[in-house]
Subunit: 459 residues, 2 copies
């Protein structure tokens, strides 16, 4: 391959991983990041603190040699822990097979690890505090806020949901389809600090709940959900013993951020809806009024490339809402797929970008839709007895017949299966199983073998 | 009502009709139009030459007293005339009831009639060659290309699919959802001039084919369709004896505009696909290479208003593809609904706009989706024997049981039925009838009464 130089816009998770992949092909990368270097200064990322890393993302980290390192810092989550209003908890495992779980990782920690790894390669240079302000679709030139004009063999936009490269394409590419859709719900991050008075919880038997620094105040190895129909709170464990909570609530109307205007209304809302969480959140009021309320949106666009001059990947091409825990995993899969195409085609960027977009677009659309649908599943269905029976039945099926994969498992654990296939098959399965579980209140009456046969006919 | 002043951006069909409605409430209207006055100069509208006016649009024209006048200049179309490749034709009526048909009207003629009517009111002023360049969502001020800054009690954007008011909202309104989606197909307008050598066609018996100026070279009272699966041509009659043809074809790929580069490739394409049309189109080559190739897109957005300061209506809020013939009809319905809300609320613009958007958004989404779906019906299904049987069956049902309405009839002839209801009911009916017609090759075997009973259970 002739010596190529690629300009990457954005040093977030996708941009940093992409730089490693490209460097391994001997391609030079200049990565321009609007923010400062999070390794040497405090950077307001404006994004979630932790993330669920699962098989699609791990497959990419494996290819660049970072999976072992990262997973050492991850907290496995084996299932959803449902918190009822009366404080009762119930665990719904993510899979009936052993060894299938998702991992809570620190966004910042993973980003730093990826940048450090990328910088081991000679051809990779990160440039911080350099904001891309415009992209010229006709010439491929990138303009920075410093006035610099950059040119490379091609430009890859990994500049996230608010992508400047995408906006330039929207302004100038003929028939550029573009959609941004906001949920009525926003989110706010809150905190459960590590315990300091010695109690421990261990629903999971073998798992030790004491870790590097503190004691986990809730079951460590689960994603906690307080599902309250029109809203919900979740909590993911951090490596230091804390949990990061995220409250998802409508911006306006009944039970909304608009109604939580002071300590009194906030505490009354929590006492009514999350009474078991209050004693775990000593800084609830401070956190709530100090932290920003974020918006949740889905971005779709097409085409993703301007000939061989530019390509969008990750959130820049397809930002999704966080409810399937697949945003980062999907972006990492983008990098994997792009890497394979570079292997096949060499630096024929126009061919690579065209094929990439055609291959990935249906899958990006599928996960975007599943992520929206899962919002309703998480806040409504997980508290619904029929849904809980269905999940129990799926867990048993996966346990007794390991070749069976639930929709969730196909999306989360089957990095060999495109999202679009997982969605289509998964929806057909779900429809059948929900009908079955609505009919049978006691799933012990069902023969798992018969259910599996019917599922094969049906889905 | 205290004397109100409304600024309308755009003097197209919606803006001109809206001005009449507002003037009837004693509201002053200043209408700013980027183009010149089409009554005194030639204006490149960049839009189709004729349009299908049907019940929803007529209902609005009736309310402002223009229905009689317009319908005198309209050409009724009683059904779709399907042209097979071998030149054979077949008529599929739009309805089984008498008196239900759609009308081919001149866009320019209707626009002029609406402007003339609006100007009869003292409070209405049209300002041509005044392009709106920006709207300030915070203050409600409108900026024109002349540098003028305008203020009124409120601003209504009727500035079409490329709305400047909408773009200003997109830039500044938080959580403004916005989507523009382009079809792979574009369109080009072509022409069938009036006949000058005396032949006439009269499939419709009683209808006279000779009209004001010339002889119609095809059945006058039909919408002609040359459906060729991946593309199609249609033709609508004009009052002067000509037809305006529209060729819908992919931009790129097999059978596309990209492949029609010279007279030879054009004529070869027409000889293969539309041989019966060639003798009717003496200026085919000139028209094809002189006329622009247009794009077809769907625009969705929300919210449609900025408090009581601004509202989008018509294409500015919800541009649709032309395949259900409902773009103008839907926009006129917008004006009707807005008028009723003004009657209820007086000049409380914030209340009116909020209610308007909540009422109309589901219906605008429904017609947008039906218009896209109808593209596939028109180019594929109308040439499919099962579909043709289904239409024949529906026509008989409507004839024998006038209380039955097909999906097409609900959308087109039932101005009392919201689009969203027509879509939901219509889809359920269609699914049942298509299954039935796939099963029965001879619909004479079916008891219409039994079919109707089953339809009532099903849909």
């Amino acid at each position: 391959m002739s010596k190529q130089k690629v300009i990457i816009i954005g040093a977030g998770l996708s941009g940093s991983l992409l730089a490693i992949y490209l460097a391994k092909h001997g391609i030079e990368c200049d990565v321009y990041e609007a923010r400062g270097d999070m390794r040497s200064e405090t950077v307001a990322a404006g994004r979630s603190i932790n993330l669920a890393l699962s098989n699609r993302g791990i497959a990419a980290l494996k290819e660049v040699g970072l999976d072992e390192y990262m997973l050492a810092e991850a907290v496995p989550m084996f299932g959803r822990m449902i918190h009822a209003t009366d404080g009762a908890t119930k665990l719904l495992p993510y899979s009936g097979r052993t060894g299938e779980y998702i991992n809570s990782v620190s966004r910042g920690g993973l980003n730093v690890a990826l940048m450090n790894e990328a910088e081991k390669y000679d051809g990779v240079r990160f440039h911080f505090n350099r904001r891309c302000t415009d992209f010229d679709c006709a010439t491929g030139a990138v303009r920075l806020d410093t006035g610099e004009i950059l040119r490379g063999d091609t430009v890859i936009g990994t500049d996230g949901a608010g992508s400047v490269i995408r906006n330039a394409m929207f302004q100038t590419v003929e028939r550029f389809s573009y959609s941004i859709k906001w949920l009525e719900h926003g989110y706010k991050e809150l905190n459960i600090p590590p315990g300091d008075f010695g109690f421990r919880i261990s629903d999971f038997g073998s798992e030790e709940n004491r870790d590097s620094e503190g004691l986990f105040r809730l079951e460590k190895n689960a994603l906690h959900i307080w599902a309250r129909h029109s809203f919900m709170m979740i909590a993911l464990p951090n490596f230091d013993g804390s949990f990061t909570c995220t409250l998802f609530l409508a911006h306006e109307g009944e039970n909304s951020f608009a109604g939580l205007t002071d300590e009194r209304s906030l505490l009354s809302f929590f006492e009514t809806n999350f009474p078991d969480a209050i004693p775990l959140m000593p800084t609830l009021t401070e956190d709530f009024f100090a932290n920003p309320t974020g918006n949740l949106g889905t971005v779709k666009c097409f085409p993703w490339n301007v000939g061989g001059r530019a390509l969008l990947i990750g959130d820049a091409a397809h930002a999704v809402v966080p409810f399937y825990g697949q945003g980062m995993n999907c972006s990492f899969e983008d990098c994997r797929v792009l890497n394979r195409l570079i292997e096949s085609h060499g630096p024929d960027w126009e061919t690579i970008f065209g094929e990439f977009a055609m291959m990935r677009k249906p899958n990006a659309d599928a996960i975007a839709e599943m992520a929206e649908e899962n919002f309703y599943e998480m806040r409504d269905a997980v508290a619904d007895p029929i849904f809980q029976r269905k999940r129990a039945l799926e867990t048993r099926l996966e346990h007794d017949f390991p070749a069976y994969f639930s929709k969730y498992s196909m999306v989360t654990f089957r990095e060999d299966l495109p999202y679009a296939v997982a969605r289509q098959k998964g929806n057909a399965q779900d429809e059948f199983l929900m009908r079955l579980c609505a009919e049978f209140e006691d799933i012990d009456q069902l023969s798992l073998y018969d259910v599996l046969q019917k599922l094969r006919e049906y889905a």
